[in-house]
Amino acid sequence: MFEKLKQLIAFYEEVLTMPHRQELARELRSEDDMFLLLLYLEMIGIPNPIHYYTLELYPYMIETFHDWHLRMGMEKSPLAGIRCC
Protein backbone atom coordinates (compact mmCIF):
# COMPACT_ATOMS: atom_id res chain seq x y z
CA MET A 1 0.00 0.00 0.00
CA PHE A 2 2.78 2.38 1.04
CA GLU A 3 4.78 1.53 -2.10
CA LYS A 4 1.73 2.26 -4.23
CA LEU A 5 1.34 5.62 -2.56
CA LYS A 6 4.99 6.47 -3.24
CA GLN A 7 4.58 5.55 -6.88
CA LEU A 8 1.52 7.72 -7.11
CA ILE A 9 3.34 10.70 -5.61
CA ALA A 10 6.25 10.21 -8.00
CA PHE A 11 3.87 10.10 -10.93
CA TYR A 12 2.12 13.22 -9.71
CA GLU A 13 5.44 15.09 -9.49
CA GLU A 14 6.39 13.93 -12.94
CA VAL A 15 3.12 15.26 -14.33
CA LEU A 16 3.65 18.57 -12.59
CA THR A 17 7.23 19.12 -13.73
CA MET A 18 6.81 17.78 -17.28
CA PRO A 19 5.70 21.04 -18.92
CA HIS A 20 8.52 22.93 -17.17
CA ARG A 21 11.34 20.57 -18.06
CA GLN A 22 11.82 22.04 -21.50
CA GLU A 23 11.74 25.54 -20.10
CA LEU A 24 14.27 24.61 -17.44
CA ALA A 25 16.51 22.95 -19.98
CA ARG A 26 16.42 26.04 -22.16
CA GLU A 27 17.16 28.29 -19.21
CA LEU A 28 20.11 26.20 -18.10
CA ARG A 29 21.42 25.91 -21.62
CA SER A 30 21.50 29.67 -21.94
CA GLU A 31 23.50 29.76 -18.72
CA ASP A 32 25.92 27.32 -20.35
CA ASP A 33 26.07 29.55 -23.40
CA MET A 34 26.88 32.54 -21.26
CA PHE A 35 29.60 30.56 -19.55
CA LEU A 36 31.24 29.60 -22.82
CA LEU A 37 31.10 33.20 -23.92
CA LEU A 38 32.91 34.20 -20.72
CA LEU A 39 35.56 31.59 -21.45
CA TYR A 40 36.04 32.76 -25.01
CA LEU A 41 35.69 36.51 -24.65
CA GLU A 42 38.72 36.90 -26.91
CA MET A 43 36.72 36.24 -30.01
CA ILE A 44 34.40 39.15 -29.46
CA GLY A 45 37.40 41.35 -28.83
CA ILE A 46 37.31 41.52 -25.03
CA PRO A 47 40.60 40.54 -23.40
CA ASN A 48 40.27 37.49 -21.24
CA PRO A 49 42.75 37.21 -18.39
CA ILE A 50 42.78 33.44 -18.49
CA HIS A 51 42.80 33.04 -22.26
CA TYR A 52 45.84 30.77 -22.08
CA TYR A 53 44.24 28.41 -19.60
CA THR A 54 41.06 28.16 -21.63
CA LEU A 55 42.99 26.31 -24.34
CA GLU A 56 43.01 23.16 -22.25
CA LEU A 57 39.21 23.34 -22.21
CA TYR A 58 38.93 23.15 -26.01
CA PRO A 59 38.66 19.38 -26.09
CA TYR A 60 35.58 19.51 -23.91
CA MET A 61 33.78 22.29 -25.70
CA ILE A 62 34.70 21.81 -29.32
CA GLU A 63 31.94 19.38 -30.18
CA THR A 64 29.25 21.63 -28.81
CA PHE A 65 30.83 24.63 -30.45
CA HIS A 66 28.81 24.62 -33.67
CA ASP A 67 25.43 24.61 -31.92
CA TRP A 68 26.69 27.23 -29.57
CA HIS A 69 27.69 29.82 -32.15
CA LEU A 70 24.40 29.28 -33.96
CA ARG A 71 22.49 29.94 -30.75
CA MET A 72 24.63 33.01 -30.15
CA GLY A 73 23.36 34.35 -33.44
CA MET A 74 26.59 33.87 -35.34
CA GLU A 75 25.95 32.19 -38.64
CA LYS A 76 29.54 31.23 -39.25
CA SER A 77 32.16 30.10 -36.79
CA PRO A 78 33.65 33.19 -35.12
CA LEU A 79 36.94 31.44 -34.41
CA ALA A 80 39.32 31.51 -37.33
CA GLY A 81 40.80 28.20 -36.25
CA ILE A 82 37.58 26.27 -35.77
CA ARG A 83 35.86 25.93 -39.10
CA CYS A 84 32.91 23.80 -38.23
CA CYS A 85 30.82 25.32 -41.00
Binding site: F35, Y52, E56, Y58, P59, E63, G81, I82, R83
Partner: protein, 314 residues
Protein backbone atom coordinates in the same frame (compact mmCIF):
# COMPACT_ATOMS: atom_id res chain seq x y z
CA UNK B 1 64.99 39.48 8.00
CA UNK B 2 67.80 37.69 6.30
CA UNK B 3 67.83 37.25 2.55
CA UNK B 4 69.60 33.93 3.01
CA UNK B 5 67.07 32.43 5.39
CA UNK B 6 64.03 31.72 3.22
CA UNK B 7 63.36 28.91 0.83
CA UNK B 8 62.10 31.17 -1.96
CA UNK B 9 63.76 34.46 -2.83
CA UNK B 10 62.74 36.89 -5.55
CA UNK B 11 65.36 39.39 -6.62
CA UNK B 12 63.82 42.43 -8.31
CA UNK B 13 64.74 45.92 -9.41
CA UNK B 14 65.17 48.30 -12.29
CA UNK B 15 67.03 47.17 -15.39
CA UNK B 16 70.80 47.12 -15.08
CA UNK B 17 71.12 47.61 -11.31
CA UNK B 18 72.69 44.21 -10.66
CA UNK B 19 69.77 41.84 -10.16
CA UNK B 20 71.26 38.89 -11.97
CA UNK B 21 74.64 39.29 -10.30
CA UNK B 22 72.99 39.48 -6.87
CA UNK B 23 70.73 36.51 -7.56
CA UNK B 24 73.60 34.41 -8.88
CA UNK B 25 75.86 35.40 -5.99
CA UNK B 26 73.18 34.52 -3.43
CA UNK B 27 72.51 31.19 -5.12
CA UNK B 28 76.25 30.47 -5.19
CA UNK B 29 76.49 31.10 -1.44
CA UNK B 30 73.53 28.80 -0.78
CA UNK B 31 75.20 26.02 -2.73
CA UNK B 32 78.50 26.66 -0.95
CA UNK B 33 76.68 26.22 2.35
CA UNK B 34 75.37 22.86 1.26
CA UNK B 35 71.89 23.74 0.12
CA UNK B 36 70.50 22.22 -3.04
CA UNK B 37 69.79 25.43 -4.92
CA UNK B 38 67.97 26.33 -8.11
CA UNK B 39 68.49 29.77 -9.59
CA UNK B 40 65.82 30.69 -12.11
CA UNK B 41 65.79 33.57 -14.55
CA UNK B 42 62.32 34.83 -15.50
CA UNK B 43 63.71 37.62 -17.70
CA UNK B 44 63.49 36.83 -21.38
CA UNK B 45 66.84 38.60 -21.80
CA UNK B 46 68.65 36.01 -19.73
CA UNK B 47 71.97 36.71 -17.99
CA UNK B 48 72.65 33.51 -16.07
CA UNK B 49 74.36 31.76 -18.97
CA UNK B 50 76.82 34.63 -19.25
CA UNK B 51 77.38 34.85 -15.51
CA UNK B 52 78.13 31.15 -15.12
CA UNK B 53 79.90 31.02 -18.48
CA UNK B 54 77.92 28.11 -19.84
CA UNK B 55 74.82 27.64 -21.90
CA UNK B 56 71.77 27.09 -19.66
CA UNK B 57 68.60 27.65 -21.64
CA UNK B 58 65.13 26.27 -21.04
CA UNK B 59 66.04 23.21 -18.99
CA UNK B 60 67.43 22.79 -15.49
CA UNK B 61 71.19 22.73 -15.94
CA UNK B 62 73.85 21.52 -13.60
CA UNK B 63 76.34 24.19 -12.47
CA UNK B 64 78.12 22.57 -9.54
CA UNK B 65 75.83 19.70 -8.67
CA UNK B 66 74.31 21.42 -5.69
CA UNK B 67 73.71 24.51 -7.76
CA UNK B 68 71.40 24.21 -10.73
CA UNK B 69 70.19 26.92 -13.04
CA UNK B 70 67.24 27.48 -15.37
CA UNK B 71 66.44 30.22 -17.85
CA UNK B 72 62.73 29.95 -18.52
CA UNK B 73 62.15 29.73 -22.25
CA UNK B 74 58.54 30.82 -22.71
CA UNK B 75 58.55 29.65 -26.32
CA UNK B 76 59.43 26.15 -25.26
CA UNK B 77 56.93 26.25 -22.39
CA UNK B 78 54.12 27.30 -24.73
CA UNK B 79 54.99 24.38 -27.01
CA UNK B 80 54.95 22.00 -24.09
CA UNK B 81 51.56 23.25 -22.92
CA UNK B 82 50.07 23.03 -26.41
CA UNK B 83 51.44 19.52 -26.68
CA UNK B 84 49.73 18.46 -23.48
CA UNK B 85 46.48 19.98 -24.73
CA UNK B 86 46.88 18.07 -27.99
CA UNK B 87 47.38 14.83 -26.11
CA UNK B 88 44.27 15.38 -24.02
CA UNK B 89 42.30 16.08 -27.15
CA UNK B 90 42.93 12.62 -28.56
CA UNK B 91 40.86 11.08 -25.81
CA UNK B 92 37.78 13.22 -26.19
CA UNK B 93 37.44 14.68 -29.64
CA UNK B 94 36.08 13.05 -32.80
CA UNK B 95 38.91 12.42 -35.25
CA UNK B 96 37.38 14.69 -37.89
CA UNK B 97 37.47 17.62 -35.48
CA UNK B 98 41.14 17.12 -34.70
CA UNK B 99 42.45 19.24 -37.50
CA UNK B 100 40.30 22.16 -36.44
CA UNK B 101 41.59 21.97 -32.92
CA UNK B 102 45.19 21.87 -34.08
CA UNK B 103 44.63 24.91 -36.24
CA UNK B 104 43.07 26.77 -33.35
CA UNK B 105 45.95 25.88 -31.05
CA UNK B 106 48.50 27.13 -33.55
CA UNK B 107 46.69 30.46 -33.75
CA UNK B 108 46.51 30.68 -29.98
CA UNK B 109 50.22 30.10 -29.63
CA UNK B 110 50.92 33.24 -31.60
CA UNK B 111 48.37 35.32 -29.70
CA UNK B 112 49.55 38.21 -27.53
CA UNK B 113 49.89 37.21 -23.92
CA UNK B 114 50.63 33.56 -24.61
CA UNK B 115 54.31 33.98 -23.76
CA UNK B 116 53.61 35.78 -20.53
CA UNK B 117 51.10 33.14 -19.56
CA UNK B 118 53.56 30.35 -20.36
CA UNK B 119 56.25 32.01 -18.28
CA UNK B 120 53.81 32.46 -15.44
CA UNK B 121 52.67 28.87 -15.63
CA UNK B 122 56.27 27.67 -15.46
CA UNK B 123 56.89 29.88 -12.45
CA UNK B 124 53.91 28.28 -10.71
CA UNK B 125 55.11 24.77 -11.49
CA UNK B 126 58.61 25.57 -10.18
CA UNK B 127 57.17 26.96 -6.96
CA UNK B 128 54.82 24.01 -6.54
CA UNK B 129 56.79 21.04 -7.89
CA UNK B 130 60.50 21.80 -8.22
CA UNK B 131 60.47 23.24 -4.73
CA UNK B 132 60.32 19.68 -3.44
CA UNK B 133 63.71 18.87 -5.00
CA UNK B 134 65.55 21.94 -3.75
CA UNK B 135 66.29 23.61 -0.44
CA UNK B 136 66.51 27.04 -1.98
CA UNK B 137 64.91 28.74 -5.00
CA UNK B 138 66.37 32.05 -6.15
CA UNK B 139 64.51 33.98 -8.84
CA UNK B 140 66.37 36.45 -10.98
CA UNK B 141 63.44 38.47 -12.30
CA UNK B 142 62.86 40.76 -15.24
CA UNK B 143 62.90 44.54 -14.71
CA UNK B 144 60.32 45.88 -12.29
CA UNK B 145 57.11 46.35 -14.28
CA UNK B 146 57.16 42.91 -15.77
CA UNK B 147 57.86 41.26 -12.44
CA UNK B 148 55.12 43.05 -10.56
CA UNK B 149 52.71 41.94 -13.24
CA UNK B 150 53.98 38.38 -12.95
CA UNK B 151 53.67 38.34 -9.18
CA UNK B 152 50.19 39.84 -9.23
CA UNK B 153 48.84 37.27 -11.68
CA UNK B 154 47.98 34.56 -9.13
CA UNK B 155 45.63 37.00 -7.43
CA UNK B 156 44.13 38.43 -10.63
CA UNK B 157 43.64 35.09 -12.38
CA UNK B 158 42.48 33.43 -9.19
CA UNK B 159 39.64 35.90 -8.78
CA UNK B 160 38.63 35.45 -12.41
CA UNK B 161 38.59 31.68 -12.28
CA UNK B 162 36.75 31.70 -8.96
CA UNK B 163 34.03 33.81 -10.55
CA UNK B 164 33.72 31.39 -13.46
CA UNK B 165 33.66 28.38 -11.17
CA UNK B 166 30.95 29.87 -8.98
CA UNK B 167 28.76 30.46 -12.00
CA UNK B 168 29.40 27.04 -13.44
CA UNK B 169 28.73 25.32 -10.15
CA UNK B 170 25.37 26.98 -9.81
CA UNK B 171 24.33 25.87 -13.28
CA UNK B 172 25.53 22.33 -12.62
CA UNK B 173 23.61 22.17 -9.36
CA UNK B 174 20.48 23.29 -11.11
CA UNK B 175 20.94 20.70 -13.84
CA UNK B 176 21.37 18.04 -11.24
CA UNK B 177 18.49 19.12 -9.05
CA UNK B 178 15.94 20.03 -11.67
CA UNK B 179 16.64 17.73 -14.59
CA UNK B 180 18.63 14.77 -13.31
CA UNK B 181 16.80 13.82 -10.12
CA UNK B 182 19.69 14.93 -7.97
CA UNK B 183 22.31 12.89 -9.85
CA UNK B 184 25.48 14.98 -10.00
CA UNK B 185 26.39 16.04 -13.53
CA UNK B 186 29.78 15.20 -14.93
CA UNK B 187 31.56 18.35 -16.02
CA UNK B 188 35.17 18.10 -17.18
CA UNK B 189 35.30 21.86 -17.80
CA UNK B 190 34.51 22.50 -14.19
CA UNK B 191 37.06 19.94 -13.04
CA UNK B 192 39.87 21.35 -15.17
CA UNK B 193 39.18 24.91 -14.07
CA UNK B 194 39.00 23.76 -10.49
CA UNK B 195 42.46 22.18 -10.72
CA UNK B 196 43.83 25.42 -12.16
CA UNK B 197 42.27 27.40 -9.39
CA UNK B 198 43.69 25.08 -6.75
CA UNK B 199 47.21 25.52 -8.19
CA UNK B 200 46.87 29.29 -8.31
CA UNK B 201 45.63 29.40 -4.75
CA UNK B 202 48.51 27.23 -3.56
CA UNK B 203 51.08 29.38 -5.37
CA UNK B 204 49.56 32.55 -4.00
CA UNK B 205 49.60 31.19 -0.51
CA UNK B 206 53.33 30.44 -0.86
CA UNK B 207 54.12 33.84 -2.31
CA UNK B 208 52.34 35.55 0.55
CA UNK B 209 53.87 33.38 3.25
CA UNK B 210 56.67 35.50 4.67
CA UNK B 211 58.11 32.47 6.48
CA UNK B 212 58.93 30.87 3.15
CA UNK B 213 59.19 33.64 0.61
CA UNK B 214 61.29 36.77 0.63
CA UNK B 215 61.46 39.67 -1.80
CA UNK B 216 64.62 41.67 -2.15
CA UNK B 217 65.07 44.66 -4.43
CA UNK B 218 68.39 45.76 -5.83
CA UNK B 219 68.92 49.46 -6.45
CA UNK B 220 71.72 51.91 -7.12
CA UNK B 221 72.12 55.22 -5.29
CA UNK B 222 70.65 57.08 -8.25
CA UNK B 223 67.46 59.03 -8.63
CA UNK B 224 65.48 56.88 -11.08
CA UNK B 225 66.46 53.65 -9.42
CA UNK B 226 65.23 54.93 -6.04
CA UNK B 227 61.95 56.24 -7.42
CA UNK B 228 61.19 53.05 -9.32
CA UNK B 229 61.96 50.87 -6.32
CA UNK B 230 59.68 52.99 -4.14
CA UNK B 231 56.83 52.56 -6.60
CA UNK B 232 57.45 48.84 -6.94
CA UNK B 233 57.41 48.28 -3.20
CA UNK B 234 54.11 50.16 -2.98
CA UNK B 235 52.58 48.11 -5.77
CA UNK B 236 53.68 44.80 -4.30
CA UNK B 237 52.22 45.85 -0.96
CA UNK B 238 48.86 46.17 -2.67
CA UNK B 239 49.15 42.47 -3.37
CA UNK B 240 50.29 41.90 0.21
CA UNK B 241 53.86 41.05 -0.73
CA UNK B 242 56.37 42.72 1.57
CA UNK B 243 59.79 43.69 0.30
CA UNK B 244 61.87 43.30 3.43
CA UNK B 245 65.41 43.86 2.19
CA UNK B 246 67.22 46.12 -0.21
CA UNK B 247 70.61 45.64 -1.78
CA UNK B 248 72.16 49.05 -2.45
CA UNK B 249 74.59 48.17 -5.18
CA UNK B 250 77.55 50.14 -6.59
CA UNK B 251 78.05 52.53 -3.69
CA UNK B 252 81.23 54.52 -4.40
CA UNK B 253 84.02 53.48 -2.03
CA UNK B 254 85.45 56.02 0.43
CA UNK B 255 88.86 56.09 -1.16
CA UNK B 256 87.88 57.47 -4.57
CA UNK B 257 90.08 60.29 -5.70
CA UNK B 258 89.93 63.07 -8.23
CA UNK B 259 87.54 66.01 -8.39
CA UNK B 260 85.11 64.12 -10.62
CA UNK B 261 84.60 61.25 -8.22
CA UNK B 262 84.53 63.56 -5.18
CA UNK B 263 81.67 65.41 -6.83
CA UNK B 264 79.86 62.17 -7.58
CA UNK B 265 80.44 61.02 -4.03
CA UNK B 266 78.80 64.20 -2.70
CA UNK B 267 75.78 63.63 -4.89
CA UNK B 268 75.62 60.01 -3.87
CA UNK B 269 75.58 60.92 -0.18
CA UNK B 270 72.37 62.86 -0.81
CA UNK B 271 70.85 59.85 -2.54
CA UNK B 272 71.90 57.51 0.26
CA UNK B 273 70.13 59.86 2.65
CA UNK B 274 67.08 59.75 0.43
CA UNK B 275 67.22 55.96 0.45
CA UNK B 276 67.34 55.91 4.25
CA UNK B 277 64.36 58.23 4.48
CA UNK B 278 62.30 56.51 1.79
CA UNK B 279 62.79 52.94 2.87
CA UNK B 280 62.52 52.86 6.63
CA UNK B 281 60.81 49.47 6.73
CA UNK B 282 63.54 47.59 4.89
CA UNK B 283 66.88 46.15 5.87
CA UNK B 284 69.71 47.51 3.76
CA UNK B 285 72.76 45.78 2.43
CA UNK B 286 75.37 48.07 0.90
CA UNK B 287 77.66 46.76 -1.81
CA UNK B 288 80.49 48.97 -3.08
CA UNK B 289 81.33 49.68 -6.68
CA UNK B 290 84.21 47.40 -7.59
CA UNK B 291 87.25 48.19 -9.67
CA UNK B 292 86.15 45.54 -12.10
CA UNK B 293 82.77 44.16 -13.17
CA UNK B 294 81.64 40.76 -11.94
CA UNK B 295 82.81 38.45 -14.67
CA UNK B 296 84.25 35.33 -13.08
CA UNK B 297 82.98 32.81 -10.57
CA UNK B 298 85.62 34.02 -8.06
CA UNK B 299 84.32 37.56 -8.35
CA UNK B 300 80.77 36.27 -7.98
CA UNK B 301 81.83 34.47 -4.83
CA UNK B 302 83.45 37.55 -3.29
CA UNK B 303 80.35 39.57 -4.16
CA UNK B 304 78.34 36.94 -2.31
CA UNK B 305 80.73 36.94 0.66
CA UNK B 306 80.15 40.66 0.95
CA UNK B 307 76.39 40.11 1.08
CA UNK B 308 76.80 37.43 3.72
CA UNK B 309 79.07 39.59 5.88
CA UNK B 310 76.76 42.53 5.58
CA UNK B 311 73.84 40.33 6.68
CA UNK B 312 75.77 38.92 9.63
CA UNK B 313 76.84 42.33 10.88
CA UNK B 314 73.26 43.03 11.78
Amino acid sequence: MDIFAKQILFVGGKGGVGKSTSAAAIAWQHAKNGYRTLVVSTDSAHNLSDLFARSIGGKITDITGRLQALEIDSDKETDRYMQSVRENIHNVVHPEMMEEVHRQLDTAKASPGAEEAALFDKLISIILEERKHFDRLVFDTAPTGHTIRLLSLPELLGVWIEGLLGKRQKTNENYSRLLHDGEPVEDPIYDVLRQRQARLAKARELLLDSNQTEFVFVLNPERLSILETEKAIGLLEQYRMQVTSLIINRVLPDDVDGAFFQERKRQEAAYLDLINQTFNQQEMIHVPLFRHDIATIEQLESFGDLLVNSCQQR
